[in-house]
Symmetry: C2
Subunit: 295 residues, 2 copies
């Protein structure tokens, strides 16, 4: 693989996810913080209009507008479709100066700690993830929705990934998570710098990877109205094992609904606010151990 | 004072505050739960359109549209202005069947526990509040913004008040807070029933009342952009004493900003998501002890 020449840090792809948006603001106020590396760093406020409005998006979810066909479709003209095209123009492959790495900063109301969300299992990303999770136990690594034909911003680069931090409410800036995310970014940038020097740290631990299995929706009535809540026993228990028979939901009238699967799963994104409208109460993942080949 | 004949329970006055909205839904799905009392109970989903959209409001904050002049102003025609008029028609004094008590259910991203928010110090409300906080240590009582010329929904009734629960993210249903709020509502309804029987419980403890003093905004630059966050030391420390010299904010570049007042205050609504747009980082209150005269 070639050297890393350009890295993009994107925040506020969802306008009400303030951690990333304000980190981008910080890097714009204090540019020296990201000038000391042996590669160029671009910072991008993903959805400025939604950030100003304190909303996830104005017309459509920006982080679902990066499907290659859509970017080329001139009839798509919503605010987010136009913004996706602008961002793809800046970051994407069509550009001579395309970035080599994209770090897209998100936050969630689920207890995701500091999660690295991968859309593919490129060896470079797996090694980086193994390193980050080995040195910081708060870091977890997921391989979520398959990248083939992806509509996510991160998919503009083969080495694109998401940092997803939580739990934090939408529209709220939490200083503790802000600082932890900032430190994680510096660790990543240091790693990229060492990679360019041919000096990446060796990791002997296997990587724990949480791999997407399926979506789970809330129990709903015939009108689509939610009839049950995340069970208190699993609220904030992202990445913990859920065994057959464990409580999953609690109906509005107080009856527990058990998980009826036949194998242990590891739920993530439990009770993410933005997923109610998408019909997602949580994602089930399988926990895998991957040995990472030496650098 | 006369008997209580009609009580209104309002939820979802802000569409993304799901605790109250889903409690109202629950009472509509299971009407028997609130049929056993010696008074009539109305349930109202405050802002159905905003609830469906998962937003605080569509055009304007509904809970700021109840100023008496505005309700009579036929030129005000936004969705929330029209909805405020509808609700005032159902609950307000102009109606023969006006309600005697309004319980307006809200939630907050601040660590407000189970807060009773009063707009006036009517002896009936003080006694009820003293009772609720005496039997449940999670219950705190605030007298916030003066009621004179109030624009809040609760002000439609002299015996109107808010239950404000948190911390919970906007657009999220938290089962634990849902159940605690539901129990608190039943305790209130039982109290009203006993009041009608001339049998309200005697409370010997003084009432601890947190009384509004002032609003505090985030430090901002000349463009109005936020330059500092709630300091981690006071995040989720609602109702705890803040002494002169204690850290209040943390700038984006990591410097603490101290509270420079001369007396101890008790901040509430610390880091409430919906207050960023209103220029409010927290409210300062004074802690008062009120002896409540026997029933």
């Amino acid at each position: 693989m070639q050297k890393i020449n350009r890295v993009a840090i994107v925040g506020g792809t969802h306008g009400n996810e303030f951690t990333g948006a304000f980190l981008v603001k910080k890097f714009e106020y204090f540019p020296d913080l990201i000038k000391k590396f042996n590669f160029e760093i671009l910072t991008i406020l993903g959805n400025p209009k939604a950030f100003k409005a304190g909303r996830r998006y104005i017309d459509k979810d920006l982080n679902r507008r990066f499907l290659s066909e859509n970017l080329q479709n001139t009839t798509l003209a919503s605010y987010e479709d136009m913004r996706a095209k602008e961002i793809a123009e800046i970051l994407g492959d069509n550009n001579q100066a395309a970035v080599d790495v994209i770090v897209d900063l998100h936050s969630t109301t689920a207890n995701m700690g500091l999660s690295i969300i991968l859309g593919n299992q490129h060896p470079f990303l797996l090694k980086l993830s193994a390193y980050l999770s080995a040195i910081n136990p708060l870091v977890k690594v997921c391989h979520t929705i398959p990248e083939e034909g992806s509509n996510f911003l991160r998919s503009l680069s083969e080495l694109g990934f998401v940092i997803e931090v939580g739990p934090v409410a939408q529209g709220v800036l939490n200083a503790d998570l802000f600082q932890k995310t900032e430190q994680l970014i510096y660790t990543i940038l240091d790693y990229l710098e060492r990679y360019n020097h041919g000096d990446i740290p060796e990791i002997n631990n296997p990587l724990t990877l949480y791999k997407f299995m399926s979506f789970v929706d809330y129990p709903r009535n015939e009108n689509g109205e939610i009839q049950a809540m995340i069970h208190p026993d699993i609220q904030y228990q992202d990445y913990e094992p859920l065994n057959p028979g464990d409580p999953l939901f609690l109906t509005l009238d107080g009856r527990a609904i058990a998980y009826e699967g036949t194998s242990t799963v590891y739920p993530i994104f439990i009770n993410e606010a933005a997923y109610y409208e998408k019909g997602i109460a949580m994602l089930f993942t399988a926990k895998q151990l991957l040995s990472i080949s030496p650098a």
